[in-house]
Symmetry: D3
Subunit: 242 residues, 6 copies
């Protein structure tokens, strides 16, 4: 069984980090392919970046379909392009925010998200509402570290831990959701420090897609997720015609 | 890894049916133990039945903790006792309604529940709201077959199929959620007939608990799911003192 | 007219306290019987305690039906077992949280709940949502006094008053709802000190049940509150078969 | 104890009808005074009528304060002027829609409103939302009988019964709320015919105001219901200066 | 094209201020008539004031209909009488809270209201909910300046600016909505100081009514906004019979 | 003042149709430029189409900024790319669904949307929720005519009228919102036939953007709509680097 894990930005070292988390989460007998799109932004920190990441994601879904992928993970916490991806994918497609927040709601009664930049908090709340979890979410906290500095900045782990602690002690969160795929490798140590569950969306999404696909479940091919009607596409996007 | 799947009613053949579904869903290396409580109702078809199923469920959680269970499935669509169970369980605890409805929300944009008796529809809607899925749920349909007649009544499969079809064609559901653990063995044939995903909560809950527990995730031990304060219990329930 | 007021825990002095409040609230011509269940926890401070209080409550409803009770009050702020009780009771059944919070919404525009332990706050919010009062409720504050220490701890009244004052002055509450039956006897003095209405659920629930029953209103016997289907019950709960 | 029941329209025979229901609902020792405003519309069937009924209602509240009234019922299903009335009243003030709908939510899981004209349905839904009862309300049905024809039209009882039956059988309502004070005298016979609770807001509001006032509870004098700031009023309304 | 801008209170200098803002907002070819009702309160600072402002507003709508007005602005932030006004007006009717808050939701993701007295905050939140904007509104802040002192009190501009700044910096508002028609002339300087959009409802409502009316759009004459049924009115309000 | 009206698909005749509506709506002194993107789908009928229309829209916003445009209309009923566009635009940006639905909520109490294909209904409901209008929207009806056939198919006007009539008579809509920019030229005749307001989003959005921009209001440059952080873009999208 092949699961394609798509890093929606074009930065290779994030793809490697994401691939590592996903592979640990996939059970034996599941192959994980972590891929980097051929077009799009180096990181996703605005609605603009997010919108422009979607064409590259959709290319990777198309490639996955050609390879017979059983399911997909979209590894950015804004869950970009999930609806469009589900129209073209046969198997399940999960964004990491959806997977992490839904899982958090089963492990506690009150989660908080700890994310990168203040300006992405609105999108996180929008997803909280989309997934119907407003009454379970205590807060969305930003540590004001840019996505690509999470690896480079030596102060990052301590600042993230401080926000998680504030979420636990001030917001009353009993579960933490990490708000960026680039935080995946901190998950274990944060959980040990905080003594509450800390959820990395990449792992959880991979495990859930593997679980659903393993049961033979697929994205519905009727109604809103039916394949898109065929039609011409123009300009640099003309190759997207389905 | 041991997952304890609890049939909240006291009817053995339902335990066997549930155990079969759960075992198929658990990956290799995961052991499933399907158990029947020593006290409670023969089936769950009212708030009264549901309330009286909880002590038996909590006994099975306690026994599971003694055995080192990694997680639990509560295999009744009313998700009875889930909050109390999470206070005493170390690993994840999933009710089958929660698991099935959250999964349905990722495979389509509009699910309907097909359940047994009309009178349980209110509880199903209550859970839809609890899990924040009101905008995704198109309807809850009852086929008016009592829980224990699902196996015995030869007309059951056709009547359930008819309700599923109505859900798809009249409600616009693109995914079906089966509203009773006793329908688990119909899942594959219904899905083939309907050509949309049909979700059995027992399988999905088992796969999700296995997935979460496999990542080392546990129910939060802080806040509302912290262990209950010790105190005396009286009468036939005195053995429940923690 | 007989109203049965059920203390869901097994502690006799709380039953006496509750009975006192209820009797003052019942008009002339209404007899109040305050009862203690024969099984269950000594106090209710967790989902676990709450779930295990329900069988005892349902026994007391059954006994009330045998005695021709006109209505019932369930005197714990978690409103345990209310749905199940309504299936078996002929007359109205009110939990004290429902009664107090609905009344509060008519006397002001913004109430806060002052309750016992932090860990019960989640259940209080859940009930706020169940009763549709999220936009009227300003907060749920805990004074961190265990239920059975409310009487014994000489510092309790001052600590409760302090939380009420904070609710009024910081949350902007114009009405206070007491979040535990054990606080009933503080109601008058708190109201005098705070100069805003302070609501004890036991009194209000008793007055409302008396009012509804006096008008000849009963719990609906159709739909979801119809009597539960008869069936076998097993083990220590076998006597609950209806 | 004096309860002032205000008929918000200027039609005397409706005042008499309302007074009869209220007196039956008030316990012994409670005096009911049913009054007709000196200004306003002959019946309330639009937002326009409703807005113009409020000055007359507020005059009656002021007169009640002068008489030492312990509480008030505003006997029109649109609950006109309730917020303004609470600012000037010392005791509790209940509109009949609020009282009836909150009571319905405790006697069943699903009520429908049966009201007069189609054009008032929007206001009824608005009140359903204001009181947080959207998930309990199954429908608002109009029988298209004008308010002042309820008494005169001999077909009225049968048409109202037909709508109630449709509410029970098609909407799944297990409780009926009568959507006009002018229907009060049909309550008993409807309930006998339908075999589910039928709620007349005048009775229930009177019983609740009596119950709350009997416990010494008053409208909060702080925050939003504090007395309005004194200031000049001009023209025909100059006598409303507080 | 004539737009009638109604100052719901009876204070002339506020009518002049409102008229100035409205005239600046109306495009060329649109005539603005700012009017003061002949009855009602000198300012609106309570539910009581608001209710008693409505008859005067409705007189001004009737006069506007006689004059062939193309649309109306109701220039008080409580949006008094909007529903009743729409029943009698042919053209569009906008309250300034509705206009300002809907506009704010298109210019940013998070607005706060800065208003006069603390006691009016509840009404503002009620309107936020009525217009479906709860998830966009970060707060409603009061500067505790009475409506008629906004002009007279030399400290008013600085205190309003301070609250706006707090809304921006503490609530995270990216747009400010001014919560009183009397603040209209501060709009430009506040916006310059704060460097975020500051919205005066009088201007925006006037521009929107002009825009809608210019497209030939009118208030719907069917359903809930159909003209009110004719009937007698009594007492000082007898001239309101339609 | 220049308003740039962007047709998000690449079909020129739709751009001309949209331009005509917009020009009629813009007041004197406002110049409308209707543009067709250089890349993207020929029509938008799926999440996939919608996602792939956004890069082309963002190019047109960038070009508009270079030209000093005062505001923008995005003329597709899915409101594609609105958040991203607001990050890069100085002036107001309105999607036609947002403009039409917000206007509808001021002209009646109950609107229905009449749109093209069944499969786009989910997106329309999603926008209803995003704009907080769930309680005002009675339905979203599809006439099953593909976007590009609206012009060509001679049966289109009659089928659209039939759905509008069903919305008015069965859903109780008192205002109709046209769910596709391609229906703009039917607006007047539909309104005449139906005798209720019919709203074309292109006109209303243009009038609103002109109104807001005319008052000097701009999209907030703080918080979530601040300009996106600069960074590299890769592949065919590399020219999107800001």
């Amino acid at each position: 069984m092949l699961i394609r894990v798509i890093n929606p930005n074009t930065t290779e070292f994030m793809t490697r980090l994401i691939g590592r988390s996903a592979r640990l989460a996939a059970g034996p007998g599941t192959r994980v392919e972590a891929v980097t799109p051929a077009m799009g932004p180096a990181s996703i920190e605005s609605h603009y970046d997010e919108a422009l990441s979607v064409p590259g994601i959709l290319r990777e879904i198309a490639a996955g379909e050609a390879d017979g992928a059983a399911g997909y993970v979209i590894a950015c916490f804004g869950d970009p392009g999930v609806d469009a991806a589900r129209e073209v994918a046969t198997g399940p497609v999960l964004g990491i925010a959806e997977a992490a927040m839904r899982a958090a709601a089963t492990l506690g009664r009150a989660f908080s998200v700890v994310t990168t930049l203040e300006r992405t908090r609105g999108r996180a709340w929008e997803l909280v509402d989309r997934y119907g979890l407003r009454s379970v979410c205590r807060g969305v906290r930003a540590c004001e570290i840019a996505v690509l500095e999470l690896e480079a900045d030596p102060s990052a782990p301590a600042r993230i831990l401080a926000e998680c602690r504030a979420a636990r002690d001030h917001d009353g969160a009993d579960v933490i959701v990490l708000g960026c795929a680039g935080m995946a490798d901190l998950c274990t140590s944060l959980s040990a420090d905080l003594e509450i569950p800390v959820i990395d969306g990449v792992s959880v999404a991979t495990a859930m897609v593997a679980g659903l696909a393993g049961l033979g479940l697929r994205t519905s091919g009727r109604g809103e997720y039916a394949p898109p009607p065929a039609k011409p596409y123009t300009g640099p996007l003309r190759t997207f015609a389905v």
